[in-house]
Structure formats: C-alpha cells, structure tokens
Amino acid sequence: MPNPFAIQTEQQDGLSVIKLEGFVDAHTAPQFENAVQAEIDHDRLRIVVDCAKLSYISSAGLGVFMSFIEELRERGGDIKISGLAPKVKHTFDILGFQDIFEMPDDLATAKAQFQAA
C-alpha cells in the first residue's frame, strides 16, 4: 500500500481549507488533529474541512471534529464539512453529525455559508 492518506491546508477567501484525502483512521487521525490545532493556534477559526477526496473515516477521525467544535464556536469560529461522498457521509449521519455540523455538498457552498453568516 502506498501512502493512503494525505492532508493539505490552504488559506482561501479568509478561510482555512483543510483538504483530506484517502483514509482517516486511528492511524492517520492524529495528523488531522494536528492540522486543525495549527489553525486554532494561529487564530484562524473559520475552517472548511474539504472531504471531496476522503474515501473512508472511522470514529478516530470523527472525534477530531467533535473535540474542537465547542472551542471554535465559543471563539466565534466554525468548522464546515464539505464534499462528503455518500458512503462516507453515511458514517457521519449514523452518529447524528448532521444535527451539529453543516455538511455542504462542496467547497463553494461551504464558503458561501461562511460569507452569509
């Protein structure tokens, strides 16, 4: 198996866009956690996690969303989760993430939601 996971952070239109690719599981979730933490450490609190190339996520990855959202919202920020493939979205839905997170279809919609807010 060649490296099945990649992560990349970009600043776009005043937002931090974290792009996830491949498999987020208990092995790779710590890298995702570090990436979110790095944005918070730099007071970049409006974050889109773009999951267009995410093929799998387990609870270790879901836990990253869960653990940061309160702090971010308290401080006026947010995380939106964009571009989830149906198979992957199913995992978020089973656990009720749709009640807590906005999960727009694509990155453009996520950005529009941040502008409108």
Partner: protein, 142 residues
Amino acid sequence: MADIERRFTLQVPSSTENLAMIREFVVGVGGQAGLGESEIGKLELAVDEACANVIEHAYGHDVSKDVTVRASFDSDALHIAVIDEGQGFDPGGVTQSELDELVQQRKSGGLGMRLIRTLMDEVKYEIVPGQKNELHMMKKIR
C-alpha cells in the same frame, strides 16, 4: 454462495499501522460472502473500530501483542470475531453518551462501540481478562 462454511483468519501485530490491512481483509471476505457494497462498508468500519479499541485500550499500543480477526460465513450470515489477550474490560459498565454531550465535554472518543452496535446485526463480548477477550459480530446476508 455455497453452503459450506468458509473460514478466514488474519493475525497482525497490535499497531494502528495495520488497520488498513485489516480493512482490506474484511472487504475481501465480505465480497466473497456476497454482501453488497454498502453492507461491506459497514462491516469494514465495525471491524476497524473493534480492532482500534483492542490496539488502544486492550494493549495500550504494545506492538509486541497480536490482534486476531476471525471470519466465517455460509449462505445466511457472516460471523466475525476480534480477539485479544489484553486486559479486558466490562462492556456493560461503559456509559455511552450522546453526541451532544460528548461535544460539550470536548471529547475526541466514545463513538466506537455505538458505531459497532449500529452497524452490525448482532454484537456480543466474551471477556476473560489477560487470557482471551472476544468481540463477536454478526451480519445477515440478504
């Protein structure tokens, strides 16, 4: 699928690095058992969660220990067990909080067992601490 029972076993060192290999194994067995793509996805996730718990909680990331996944199926059902020789625990004693509580408490964990129970048709723990702890899961076929 034929009505003979087919048995598969995978044993790997207790490291999260091996979760990808475990998932490939599970996907392969699920495909042979004749499960559809969405059911295979559920199986894959449930077994990943169960193995991640063993690696993290039962063995505390001690890579000298082994995680064993045993699977078998006939035309009715696929049975899959995750087996460790770690410290064991009382599954009934684990309080399962709702997502909004976990979020308020800023927890990063506590979703795994709920996922397993939701994804599989039957879930049963058999715990003999330090000797053999087995998590049995079953998925109906069709």
